[in-house]
Symmetry: C2
């Protein structure tokens, strides 16, 4: 085998040290904000039983689930000629498990399985990879991380507002300028009722969902094709196109839906969220967007979408309220609201706008040059002192040419190098030669001075 | 479907919030120490191509690899009647990918695939789950985390010593008392040569490896069964049973192996590691253990094993030096040394000895009782202030009976509860009623005082 043949599977990625520092930078900010709002981390296994996963993502979704072959002689389950089966039927016989496709269904399964241990309301967050056998393309992978926060067992709209607060704070800390868009599924339902076609809710949602991509005219054409007459299409179009600030839009909506109780309830829910925002206003715009649908049929109330305003990349976060998370597993009446952050898209935005701080390039702050066995024994004592102060440092492990050691420090982007040779060891003042790799200047410093310099640099970040 | 049917697959686990806090506590300490020694984190995908995984873990290991069914119509690859295939052959046709079985083989693949980006010496650490279709049993799972640190591209024995330093520091911080045992594969090879049976090295290693479990007499019987004569068995037994401190043992070994260059080299390597330890001595015992083999044929030099001394649980960490990590993928001459920490065993030890600090029981430090809409609006401003100081806090989201809210705080083990009702809102001195949930006492405090109290508590930890 030549070494060229070796690679990760299609659509999957390794994360290099530099990529890990960047990803951890994003995750740490997200985790930290989730936790200050009382959300608690859980993790579920990579694999779930296929009985748990199947039928939850629609036909297209189901096809994208990675299935895991039963261990042992999986063919024992097949008692007829295989030509009597479709490959889907066969896979159900020889594969009982699959890799998780999202974090929502495993969370629903978690809640049902642990219902006797969980105290409601339950605020959980989860940051884990999920797998989809999607066609790999730029920025889209077959293994990717989702970062979800959900609170279940509470109908209060303060939960919605806290999700917005969390998003605002996360993107503030990351340095990404965002706008938050809100809608409510009950208003979408109201539209379907308004045109006397409640059964077309899904089609209307799908059409509205495409407004962003294909424009309002084309989306309305799609609706006409579904059998809506011109008047109905016009009515929907007029709602989506409502002008003005949130207050104005709400006034108009209340007039339009005056006879539609459910829609009025949706409008009032939005109003309440906006009222919280008056008292504790977010630093980002919160916009009522009646064309927001997010194509997800399981949302039953608030719909949330977050966009980065400085790059054209679609939504970087979204969520909403659902009435019946665990009904599919036989546990009814558990409602909740949640939000999901797309780590890859966020990283893309951060890279495009150069928002990662420079310390995400390296962890080691200082390297000791290796001058031989005697010097090594001297250095390991110094290194220990530095590490006790939390400083990431290393000794070049081999006594090779200094040039080679220096080019290693350079390639690793290590900012400082210590040269502790014979003369430094014999130096009674305990000073070491420290080279600043960015300027090339050298300076004699005590260990305490080195510790102070690096700690000060870290505190500045 | 009744909700009872819902569960994780056999041998796999959910991690509850409390379990996550404990696991993160362990991982954070491990990560932090790895990083202060200059080790850099990488991650590899859950899945690898089966060409990468197969044949690397022996026959038994290969059977335990979870295989992932090819997506789409996987049966297209089968052109004959399936009865012409064994199930192993079939699985190779319908599954091209598998879940990673350990972190070493994916790391070797990583090094080969990214050889042009990697600067040697390369210090990497990796903390990720691996999967094995093992028989599930107590303390043994089909999905579990490995924490590996390896340095490749350096033959220096300072690397071995740094791994010992790292282990010492990690277990010190976790509060687990350990002893480190060392051996060297070259001495094991020396034993095989000493009895003129170099081809029996593996059998000798396996027998020696069992000494701990089945006793030295039974292990020596096994060797006799492999065809070793009494004299040979006695020779090996005498070496394994060598008495005295490390210095004494080394002296005796040097005499025994005086004519065996390779063994002498192994002895000198151990001597060098012990010399580093004289200069910068670890707080735990480092013991030369000639019965240590760790059954892994790929070790070529130092062998390391770490045991917790207060519980009888086997090794909680181990590693060693290997000469040829990436040879299997066509890239020769990459040697290295590494160590692996078993997160589950470490957690078991910590639980058994009650070593987890109390703050691993909850993240939220303070909860605000919900008295209704007006109070909510007042509270969200206070919460914001607390969160700006990094304090994890939450508002009970619904205006339900105080008793219910209190029992939630109790169940969540939240240490403080704020009661901010009508009177507190109208209070001109801005003081809130704070209830200490452990003592039941109530106190009027300003937001600043609350922040100070909780920050002080956190700093004490």
């Amino acid at each position: 085998m030549t070494s060229q043949n070796v690679s990760v599977p299609k659509g999957m990625r390794d994360f290099s040290p530099e990529e890990m520092l960047k990803r951890n930078y994003i995750f740490n900010i997200i985790k930290n904000v989730f936790e200050t709002f009382g959300y608690m981390q859980i993790e579920t296994p990579a694999m779930e039983n296929l009985t748990t996963l199947s039928g939850k993502y629609g036909n297209e979704g189901d096809k994208l689930i990675f299935k895991v072959l039963n261990s042992g002689n999986f063919m024992n389950a097949i008692d007829k000629d295989i030509h009597n089966y479709t490959y889907q039927q066969l896979s159900n016989l020889i594969a009982e498990k699959g890799l998780k496709y999202d974090l929502t269904v495993p969370f629903a399964r978690y809640v049902v399985q642990h219902r006797n241990e969980i105290v409601l309301p339950f605020k959980r967050y989860q940051i884990q990879p999920v797998w989809r056998a999607d066609k790999p393309q730029k920025g889209r992978y077959r293994e990717f991380f989702q970062c979800d926060a959900d609170i279940i067992g509470s109908n209060s709209l303060i939960n919605e507002f806290e999700l917005l607060q969390m998003s605002n704070e996360i993107f503030d800390k990351l340095g990404i300028k965002i706008e938050i868009r809100l809608n409510n599924r009950k208003i979408l339902m109201g539209m379907a009722n308004l045109i006397d076609n409640p059964q077309l809710l899904t089609d209307i949602t799908i059409a509205i969902d495409k407004v962003d991509k294909i424009g309002i005219d084309k989306a309305m054409e799609d609706l006409a094709l579904k059998g809506l007459n011109e008047e109905s299409v016009l009515k929907i179009q007029n709602i989506i196109k409502l002008k003005g600030n949130n207050e104005t839009k709400i006034k108009q909506l209340k007039r339009i839906f005056v006879n539609y109780t459910e829609a009025i309830q949706g409008i009032e829910e939005l109003e309440m969220i906006l009222k919280y925002n008056e008292y504790q206003s977010l630093s980002c715009p919160v916009i009522l967007d009646l064309s927001l649908a997010r194509g997800l049929n399981y949302y039953t109330g608030t719909i949330i979408e977050i966009k980065a305003t400085q790059v054209n990349i679609g939504s970087i976060s979204g969520g909403g309220r659902y009435d019946n998370l665990t009904g599919i597993f036989g546990l009814p009446d558990i409602s909740g609201v949640g939000i999901s952050f797309g780590a890859d898209r966020i990283a893309d935005v951060m890279n495009e706008l150069s928002l990662f701080p420079s310390y995400t390039e390296t962890s080691t702050k200082i390297m000791f040059v290796n001058f031989g066995k005697k010097e090594e024994l001297f250095c390991i004592q110094k290194l220990k002192q530095l590490r006790e102060h939390g400083i990431c440092c290393e000794l070049y492990p081999d006594n090779v040419k200094i040039k080679k050691q220096m080019s290693y420090a350079n390639a690793r982007k290590i900012p400082y190098v210590v040269l502790a040779g014979e003369s430094e060891i014999n130096n009674t003042n305990g000073k070491l030669t420290v080279k600043d790799m960015s300027t090339g200047t050298e300076k004699l410093m005590t260990t305490d001075e080195i510790i102070k310099m690096i700690s000060d640099n870290q505190n500045k970040l």
